[in-house]
Symmetry: C2
Subunit: 276 residues, 2 copies
């Protein structure tokens, strides 16, 4: 039985970037969960990426798996890529290296983005400058704003690929309870927008795919099959399969704010317990 | 600020070994915590190791950090290497890829070792055959037995370095409550034995060290300074510093056997919380 794994940022320029990351005071511990360490990427750092997915920040699953977008949002993004016939040829990075603590006021976002711009710019330049990436898709407004600002830098102006800013994959869940009319409506709006993005990216990619596909747009609701598991080849060597499954396995727990911030409970999901 | 990190098993022959690891039925889920995935190594896989540390199996800290010997036992081993002037030039592996579930009966150990011998042998051969390793130190009886068996294979017979089997670093803690006369006595006996091992390994290593040292043996008790933190350069990129500190940060919790087996609580230790 052969298991694929992702070597991580071991080749230049990424190895140097993974050695020189900022912490406090660039990332203020009052605004970012710096205590969990920076999460840099998921996917290809070897020049084979054709799409760059750009998100906001890592969550608790990402803190443990040490890869971007492995929780619920990551599974929805993986489904998005799958519709494009992209199974391997992508890279994923976030606007912020650390999880945002609390919800920043709109007025604070400008400051957070300015303070963290240099290192983010180096990663974007390393991922995009002189690369084969044909499209960047951002998920969420902070990711969109961060990428738009980079596009106005010297390196950014050299990027001639397509930029597709889309709604964050778990926005419907953050705005309403699943099952409510508000949720159904928010999901429908998001998927309509995503379908537009899919069509534009599909055109930009041309024949450059990992798998033949005919583009099947989303319906009005997200179906179970619209989520896809994280590929084994995106994870560190030896990562157990449930860490990339469609189940949730990490939670912040604690009876006080302090304990909850300090604690992630990792639990092998039921149905994934080989001793049972 | 520059941070070192360990690239993991990305070069051959280790990359192939990290792709082809056994799970069930070689490792029976009734005897091993296969659900946390295999933990392969810590330290140098680039030929620069002069000592190989060989342990028994990973625990809960190792399941999260995905490196061998990062918990209490690892900190004691790190102190042992430090006394020898070895700060980087070591590799660490275990007899078993997965944590042993429960305490195997002596009569079962033979079966567990036989079933898992092939893959363990491949790692030992990759680490030792035609290498610069001058000494192998095993910690604990299962590690000793596993290594002794490998020495009797064709590859093992080619190894002409020194083999030093020592007591497992947390044996005193497993056999008695800290502070009791039994614990004090067990620790004293272990450290006497370790001192003998240190002297023999010190001689074998010759001038080949990372740092000048004059060998200072252990006293009768393990002092706080006898434990050393895990070097940053042994951990994956971006690993937070408390995961290699001298504090404990992972615990198996749960009110039933099943939940406890499925759960590791990861908690940023007090004093390591940058928001406080």
């Amino acid at each position: 039985m052969s298991h694929r794994f992702d070597p991580g940022p071991v080749e230049e320029p990424f190895a140097s970037l993974a050695r020189a990351y900022p912490g406090p005071p660039t990332y203020d511990p009052q605004s970012f969960r710096v205590e969990w360490g920076p999460i840099f990427h998921r996917g290809r750092l070897d020049g084979s990426a054709r799409i760059l997915v750009f998100g906001q920040d890592p969550g608790q699953h990402e803190s443990i798996a040490r890869r971007c977008f492995v929780g619920e949002a990551g599974q929805r993004v993986q489904g998005f890529l799958w519709k494009l016939g992209i199974e391997r040829s992508y890279a994923i990075a976030n606007a912020f290296l650390y999880s945002v603590y609390g919800q920043p006021w709109s007025s604070e976002v400008d400051d957070l983005l300015r303070r963290t711009a240099i290192f983010r710019g180096r990663w974007l330049t390393a991922l995009l400058d002189d690369s084969a990436v044909k499209a960047v898709v951002s998920f969420g407004r902070i990711a969109e704003e961060a990428f738009a600002r980079w596009l106005r830098t010297d390196s950014g102006r050299r990027f001639d690929g397509h930029f597709e800013p889309l709604t964050h994959p778990t926005m419907p869940d953050a705005s309403a309870r699943p099952g409510t009319p508000e949720y159904v409506e928010a999901m429908k709006r998001m998927l309509e927008q995503w379908n537009g993005g899919l069509a534009r990216i599909d055109e930009v990619l041309g024949a450059d795919r990992d798998r033949e596909r005919s583009l099947v747009p989303y319906g009005e609701a997200l179906l179970p099959d619209d989520r896809k598991p994280i590929p084994e080849g995106d994870m560190a060597a030896g990562t157990p399969p449930w860490m990339r499954s469609l189940k949730q396995w990490a939670a912040r727990i604690g009876s006080t704010e302090d304990t909850k911030r300090a604690t992630v409970e990792v639990r092998v999901p039921t149905g994934e317990r080989p001793w049972e």
